[in-house]
């Protein structure tokens, strides 16, 4: 029992940053998770800026369009986080099958797929965990982008 209490108080000490560049959509998810953590007594902040020294966990909530070109823009952030020895989680909002990828035209869609084939493995490599909200997206990351299944967790979207 005592051990359980100790473990709980250890949890409370966790300082979590929910990092997002979004202003709507995916930011609302970060806000909702943060609010739930706050109610449980955690030190958690949602921000579009990163203080690499203050937090234990840096939880990035991303859509590819916020880190152009198509996710590559996030890589320097993840490398910095690694250099600061922070645990980093990346939640990807939406990932489509390669065959469903769309852009302004077919040529751009092909370029987008090539970039995603580079950015997704790099995101997985430089983060401690990648999370998605539905099982199908996990399969997409494994089958289309060759991400190690152990690196991916599925945690659904919460409801109100």
């Amino acid at each position: 029992m005592k051990m359980k209490q100790n473990s709980k108080s250890e949890d409370k000490k966790l300082k979590i940053l929910m990092y997002t560049l979004d202003t709507v959509g995916i930011k609302s998810i970060a806000d909702d998770i943060a609010n739930a953590f706050k109610k449980m007594g955690f030190d958690v902040v949602v921000s579009d800026k990163i203080d690499y020294d203050h937090y234990d966990i840096i939880h990035v909530h991303m859509d590819y369009s916020q880190f152009h070109p198509w996710g590559l823009g996030l890589i320097p952030v993840l490398i910095k986080s690694k250099l600061h020895k922070k645990k980093t989680v990346v939640t990807i909002g939406t990932i489509l099958r390669k065959k469903d990828t769309y852009a302004r035209n077919k040529f751009l869609a092909n370029i987008k797929n090539i970039v995603l084939s580079i950015s997704n493995p790099l995101i997985a490599f430089f983060s401690d965990k990648v999370t998605v909200m539905v099982g199908d997206m996990r399969e997409t990351l494994i089958e289309d982008f060759h991400i190690n299944d152990k690196k991916i967790a599925v945690i659904p979207h919460g409801v109100y």
């Binding site: 959509g25 449980m40 966990i57």
Partner: protein, 178 residues
Amino acid sequence: MASIKCIIFGCIAKEKGYFRIIKILERNPNISLLIAGPFLHPLEQETLDYIKRKEKELKNLKVEVRRLRDDEFGKYAKKADIILLPYLSAVPASGIFSRNLKFLKPMITWNTYFFKENEKKYGACITVNSIDELEKKILEVHKSKKLRAKLRAGVKKLQKDLSWKNIALKYLEMYKTL
């Protein structure tokens, strides 16, 4: 027959599958649609032009291109009879599905993986495979009080399982494994 008020929320995007319901609006004036959401991505200009053009052509289509405040979102959801999500692919990050749940309004969605999961496990929405089926289900939901009650019960079950507290606890478990 009374007009059936449908709504599609969320930022303007091709992924939302507007053309599917617009095809129905063109042949069924008893169904009306409001598209409400902000225009965020320049890539979606073509989609915006398309829905704006259709708004001029159709009396039963209204487009409000702006970000809705939370209270406005609720007001619009309550006014609607049915919330539509005829998406081309799963878009769980939009949160629109989850935001809609609290209003207990019937939701008809396309049969993407995410929605199918919620239909199968909870009965929280109805998924469709074709434009004809979408129209059929809109009429059916509007007509059947029993079906609407069944959907409400499904949503309540889903709300209980996926509260934000439970989701945060799942993240916490994961953080602890890092």
